[in-house]
Subunit: 270 residues, 2 copies
Amino acid sequence: MEGNGRIRLLVAYDGSAYVGWQVQPNGPSVQAAIEAAFERLTGSAGRARAASRTDAGVHALGQVVVLDEPGRHGPEVVRKGLNALLPDDIVVREAELAPPGFDPRHSACGKHYRYSFHNDRVPPLFRRGQRWHIRAPLDLESMQRACAHLQGEHDFSAFRAAGCEAKSPVRRIDRIGLVRDGSLLALDVLGRAFLKQMVRNLAGTLVDVGRGRLSPEGLRGLLLGRDRTRAGRCAPAKGLCLVRVFYEPDAYRRAVEGEAGPAGGDLFSL
Amino acid sequence: MEGNGRIRLLVAYDGSAYVGWQVQPNGPSVQAAIEAAFERLTGSAGRARAASRTDAGVHALGQVVVLDEPGRHGPEVVRKGLNALLPDDIVVREAELAPPGFDPRHSACGKHYRYSFHNDRVPPLFRRGQRWHIRAPLDLESMQRACAHLQGEHDFSAFRAAGCEAKSPVRRIDRIGLVRDGSLLALDVLGRAFLKQMVRNLAGTLVDVGRGRLSPEGLRGLLLGRDRTRAGRCAPAKGLCLVRVFYEPDAYRRAVEGEAGPAGGDLFSL
C-alpha cells in the first residue's frame, strides 16, 4: 500500500523510564523515541504530535499520535516497522491514515484517565510499576461520595500543580468514579481537559478520604476553598494512565453515561 | 508474639533480575536476598530452603520457603519485616509457624506451574516480563489435543534439558491444559515433580503444534521417540511461573480434577 500523508497511531507505553511524552533536555522522552524510530524507518525526520503531554512516569494505553509520512509507507508497514524499531516499553497498537484536518489534541472531545491503587497489606509485585501501594484499608463508599462532589464544572485551583500554565482553573469532570477488583482499586476520570497534575492531586486527596482522615464534605470544602496548600499530596506518577482519547462525541457520551464505560477488571491486558 | 522455631513463608517474586532461587556464584539469587533480609531482621544467619529451585528468570506466585527463627520474632513480624527489607521484586505474601516435621520440598504432594504466552500481532507491554510473545495465531484446539497425549506417566526424555541430574526420566503429569483470555494464552501443568526445563520444553513444542508445524500425533511421536534433539525449542524463562505448591492431598486432588483448578483469568493480580 502506498502511503499518502498523515498517519494516526494508537500508542501504549510504560512511562517508567521516560521524562514524559514531550522532548526534554533532561532525559529520554516517548516523543523522541518515536521520532527516532520513524526517521530510521522512513529516512525522513518528522515531528510526532500527541493528544496529551503525559508527565514523567505516567503510562498510556491509548495515546493518539500523528506523524507526516511523505510517501513510501502505508499505515500497516509503519505500525510493524515502528514496533520492530522501538524499545519494548513503547508499543504501536494501531495505525491508520488520519482523516483530513485531524489534530490529535484539538480534535479530541474527551479523555479517560485511570489512577490505579494496590490496596492490600501485601505489596504489589508484577504491577508495582503501575500502581500506588496503599496498605491501609480504604473506605470505597466514602471515596465514592467524595467523587460526587467533584463531578461537574468547578474551579479546581485546590488540585492544580504549581507551574500549571492554564489560563483558567475551571474544568469540567464529566464522570468520576471508583471500581474495586481484588487488590486493585481504580479511579476513573473522564473530561475534555485537565489542569496540571489534577488527577494525581485528586487521587492523593481521595486516599485521605478513604483512610478516614478527611470526610467527603471536607473534600468539598477543600474544592471550594481553592487553596492548593490545603489539599492532599500529589499521588505518584506510576499509578496514572491515559486510557483513551475520544474523537467521536457519541462514543464519549456513551463512556460518560457508562454504557461503554470503564470495565471493573484490569485494563492492562497488554 | 513470641517466635518459636521454624517459619513457613509464601513468597512471590519477579525472577527477571535473578539467577534463580538458589545461591549461585554468577549473580543475585532469590535465596540470597531472603537470607540477607532475614539476617538483618533477626541478627542471626539462617538458611532458607524452598519447595522448588526455580531457574534463572522464572517467576513465582506461590514459592514455599522455610527459615529457622531462633526466638524473638513471630511470623507476622517476620512477614512485615522482610517486606520492608527485601527489594521490591520479592514479596512475602504469608508467614506462619511450620507444622512439626514440615519440609518445603519433601512434604509437597503436587506443584502447579503456568506458562504464559502473549498471543497477538501487537507486542505485550506491561506484561512483557512475564509472557512469551507469539505473533502468529495459535490453534488452541490442536494444542489441547497434543496436551492430552502428555497427560499421565511417561518417559519425558524428549523434553529433558541437557544437564538434568534426575535419575529417572519418568514423570507423571496429573493435569495439563490451556486457557485463553484475550491475548493471554496460559498453559497449566500440575504434577508431583518435573525434569529440568520440562515445562518450558513442552511449551516450546506446543507452540509448534499451535502454529501447524507439528501435529498433535507428531508431538506424541516425539514423546515416544525420547530424543531431545527432535522436539521443539525451550520456551523463554520469563513466561514460566510457579503458581502453587500443594501439601494437602485433598486440595491437590481438587486442583487436578478442576474443582479448584486454575482460573481462566489473570493469576498475576499481584
